[in-house]
């Protein structure tokens, strides 16, 4: 039952992503790839699309995967699933636990969850980089030289931009740069 599976998977993703944005990538990566919904390659494409369209990345990913796996109903259910945990929790806080965030216990628990989430995000980012250059796991290692060069060039651009303009290159600009680098690298 793909609809129920989509709903439950994204409900779980919605429930365990603290810190917004990128923190859902490690969980979504694992759930979606292990379910066989996306290949690593598709996952990278979907993240790129979700990052460069408006709205929270979690919603974008849910709608996207829901749609390709289960059509319009699938996308509605996946999106509903990812939103529902925070909707319920915030409603409870707004109505009952108005001082929720001020409880000492909540802050102590978050203080240990946050480094875990950061570790997960960096691991996911590193893994996505390695996947892009051709290493998926210990059984399939095949360096794609062109991807290695593109990644190195892009990393250099990211760092140089930061050094020259004293701020980070916007995500959309960076994706456009990457698209141009890709075009150049594969046309030559």
């Amino acid at each position: 039952m793909i609809y129920l599976e989509l709903f439950l998977t994204f409900f779980q993703i919605g429930l365990f992503t603290f810190g917004g944005g990128a923190s859902m990538i490690p969980i979504i990566q694992q759930e979606v790839v292990s379910n066989g919904w996306l290949t690593e390659e598709q996952l990278l494409q979907y993240i790129a699309i979700s990052e460069s369209t408006p709205g929270p990345i979690a919603i974008n990913m849910a709608t996207f995967i829901g749609s390709t796996q289960g059509g319009i109903l699938g996308s509605v259910l996946a999106t509903l699933g990812v939103v529902l945990p925070s909707f319920i929790i915030i409603l409870l806080i707004a109505a009952i636990f108005t001082r929720f965030a001020q409880y000492a216990g909540v802050q102590t628990v978050l203080k240990t969850i946050r480094p875990v989430v950061v570790g997960m995000i960096i691991a996911a980012g590193a893994y996505l980089v390695v996947t892009a250059i051709g290493i998926q796991n210990y059984t399939s290692i095949s360096f794609d030289l062109r991807s290695v060069i593109i990644t190195a060039v892009l990393a250099l651009i990211m760092i140089l931009y930061k050094l020259i303009f004293k701020k980070q290159i916007p995500v959309i600009a960076f994706i456009l740069v990457a698209a141009s680098v890709g075009l150049v690298a594969y046309i030559i």
Binding site: G14, T17, F18, G20, G21, P26, Q30, S34, E41, L44, Q45, A48, T53, P54, G55, P56, I57, A58, I59, N60, T63, S67, I72, S75, V83, P85, S86, F87, I89, I90, A94, A101, G105, T108, L110, K111, T112, R114, P115, V116, V117, V118, G119, M120, I122, A123, G125, A126, Y127, L128, V130, A132, Y138, R146, T151, Q168, A178, G182, L183, I187
Partner: protein
């Protein structure tokens, strides 16, 4: 009618916020402030700061959390549902439309070339986000251990294709946090108890000192009694009286 108007306004305000924030997360806060705090004055700036804290402490995208919270404040449960719907609808429509043409779009050779470049950028973007967040948490022995365990754990799981849900890392982090909190509470309570006991001890010691000094006073009085009986009779009576009073 007034209520209907408010709900409509909630919907369109959050629709706009959902439509114009790229990258999600903290980019949204500026837009929320402009629309919800300055223009509509549904909440104050302080309340927004509170909402951000709550959003950080709860799972889910920050924009969705904010829309649910403000929606509830303005229009109850219905208001929160409408605001949340308004916030996610733009993403939903845009992405759904893209998903319909995506396969066709990806079939074009030049698009594939471009995406071969883009796929190398995605991991770098996520890494950058991770490093940015790395600066934001307080470095203690415990937090660094949590960070390293999660980092190495996920890398190993991915590399060796181990079937282990990443969710458990978040759960484990929460449990460790809860454990630390309970330890803190127990430690504080023990400390309070010890302090209370110490205070009690000081009090009894002080009582003993007073008793001793009283006894000395009586002894002195007796000594002086025998020595210069008649001369100090009046003051002796006084002293004895004092001792008796305090005793």
């Amino acid at each position: 009618m007034q209520k209907f108007k408010t709900l409509l306004s909630l919907f369109f305000t959050y629709f706009k916020i959902g439509l114009f924030t790229f990258g999600g997360g903290y980019a949204m806060i500026a837009l929320i402030e402009e629309n919800v705090v300055n223009k509509k004055q549904w909440i104050t700036k302080d309340e927004l700061a509170d909402i951000v804290t709550i959003a950080e402490s709860t799972p889910g995208p920050i924009a969705v959390n904010c829309s649910t919270y403000v929606g509830y404040k303005i229009g109850g449960v219905l208001g929160s549902a409408i605001a949340t719907l308004g916030c996610i609808l733009p993403s939903f429509i845009i992405i759904y439309a893209i998903s319909l043409v995506f396969d066709w779009f990806m079939g074009m050779t030049y698009v594939q070339y471009a995406f071969n470049g883009i796929k190398c950028a995605v991991g770098l973007i996520i890494l950058r986000q991770g490093f940015k967040m790395f600066k934001s948490f307080k470095k203690t022995a415990l937090s660094i251990i949590c960070f390293i365990v999660a980092l190495v754990g996920i890398l190993l799981i991915n590399f060796f294709a181990i079937d282990f849900s990443t969710v458990f890392f978040v759960l484990a982090g929460g449990i460790v946090g809860l454990f630390v909190y309970i330890l803190d509470v127990v430690k504080n309570r023990r400390k309070e108890k010890a302090e209370a006991r110490q205070a009690l001890n000081l009090n009894t010691e002080a009582d003993q000192i007073i008793e001793i000094s009283d006894a000395e006073a009586i002894n002195n009085a007796e000594v002086s009694d025998t020595a210069t009986a008649s001369q100090n009779k009046a003051s002796n009576d006084e002293k004895n009286q004092k001792g008796g009073n305090t005793l």
